[in-house]
């Protein structure tokens, strides 16, 4: 089948500015959008720049906007797109460096700000820090985050104001706040109890729709708000 690939282009080193290039390609229905981008880069225009690593939905490096919604290029099949014209753009809210590559620094700065690591100052036991299956299942959903930034860059609050910590950082805070072995929940809640913390979330669910790992992002944000309000981790 014939597919028209309309790709956002930007090279800070030339005078063309931000524009779209259209490529007409032959594709199988089972091809992924990443395969189309690879076809362009390998056979048509080697200057096309995008991130990719594992190409199997695990590393999260190829998050882009496909026909207006955030998706991983390696997880979307041509046959699942409603149109034979595929519009490809970089994710929104982060500065474009070249073509589909954006500056991820603000995203990771927010991620680091919520202490996204295990904190427990008790002396380590001889074997392991025990946790029941029920306690582990409490934060199972938010362990699935691959830091692709699809959720944060689908959030209008983040588009408007880059200071907003963003849904991804809150998801990663949730993962440790609800971990029964962790001891820094209060610090994380204090960080998120801020003008640019959880209160910029207006529950529009774009993040939940965008997440390629099907994490219930808005629900996790709501649970963090509830923990701040009640002082209980249920």
């Amino acid at each position: 089948m014939e597919v028209k690939l309309k790709v956002f282009r930007y090279n800070p080193e030339d005078d063309e500015g931000k524009h779209f290039d259209t490529f007409t390609l032959e594709a199988e229905p089972t091809d992924r959008v990443l395969d189309l981008l690879e076809q362009v880069k390998n056979y048509v225009d080697g200057t096309l720049t995008f991130r990719r690593s594992c190409a199997h939905g695990v590393c999260g490096s190829d998050a882009i906007r496909i026909n207006g919604v955030n998706r991983l290029a390696c997880k979307v099949l041509v046959q699942d797109l409603k149109s034979k014209t595929v519009k490809i753009e970089p994710i929104l809210g982060l500065e474009v460096e070249k073509d589909l590559v954006v500056d991820m620094e603000p995203f990771f700065r927010h991620y680091k700000s919520v202490l996204p690591y295990f904190v427990n100052d008790d002396p380590p036991p001889m074997k392991e820090r025990l946790q029941s299956p029920e306690e582990r299942s409490r934060f199972d959903d938010t362990t699935k985050c691959i830091l692709c930034a699809s959720c944060t860059t689908s959030c209008p609050s983040f588009w408007i104001n880059e200071e907003y910590v963003g849904p991804s950082a809150i998801v990663n805070a949730h993962r440790f706040i609800y971990d029964s072995r962790d001891q820094a929940a209060a610090e994380r809640l204090e960080i998120l109890n801020d003008q640019f913390g959880v209160y910029r979330c207006h529950t529009i669910f774009n993040c939940t729709d965008a997440c390629p790992r099907e994490i219930e992002v808005t629900k996790a944000v709501g649970e963090v708000k509830k923990a701040i309000a009640t002082g209980r981790l249920e």
Partner: protein, 139 residues
């Protein structure tokens, strides 16, 4: 699985207004229910039309029932209903103006413009509230 307690973060404007928005959102329909229930008990079912009853429900001011067939306006006025009106105005205005503040702060960073919009919204909220209290007390 037992719930765990965690020290609550300190109060700040965002947290206070976030809580207030939820509580006022609950308070407004409760106040409306009190208004409509009291109106029905005081004879609204046979003495006023639906439009008048709705006006009273959302703002229980005696001037809203003067065009109805109520024979005696005394139970519809008085301090209790004035306090109810002030509460409805306070919860409604504060809820709404806080919504405006949130929208303004979505689009501004801390600094001059944020302080400017906060100030404007606060002044308009204060003026509106004082004006409505003046009208309630003198009606």
């Amino acid at each position: 699985m037992q719930s765990r307690k965690v020290p609550q973060p300190g109060w700040n404007l965002e947290y206070t207004m976030w809580m207030f928005t939820r509580l006022s959102g609950l308070a407004l329909p409760v106040l409306g229910l009190i208004g409509i229930t009291a109106a029905l008990v005081m004879g609204a079912r046979t003495q006023m039309d639906l439009g008048t009853l709705m006006r009273w429900t959302f703002f229980p001011n005696v001037s809203h029932v003067t065009s109805s067939n109520i024979p005696d306006y005394v139970p519809w006025g008085g301090a209790f209903w004035q306090i109810m009106q002030i509460m409805i105005a306070f919860f409604g205005f504060t809820h709404g103006f806080n919504g405006l503040r949130v929208v303004a702060e979505d689009y501004t960073n801390p600094g001059f413009w944020q302080v400017f919009w906060r100030g404007i919204i606060f002044l308009v909220w204060l003026f509106s509230l004082l004006a409505v209290i003046f009208v309630i007390i003198n009606s």
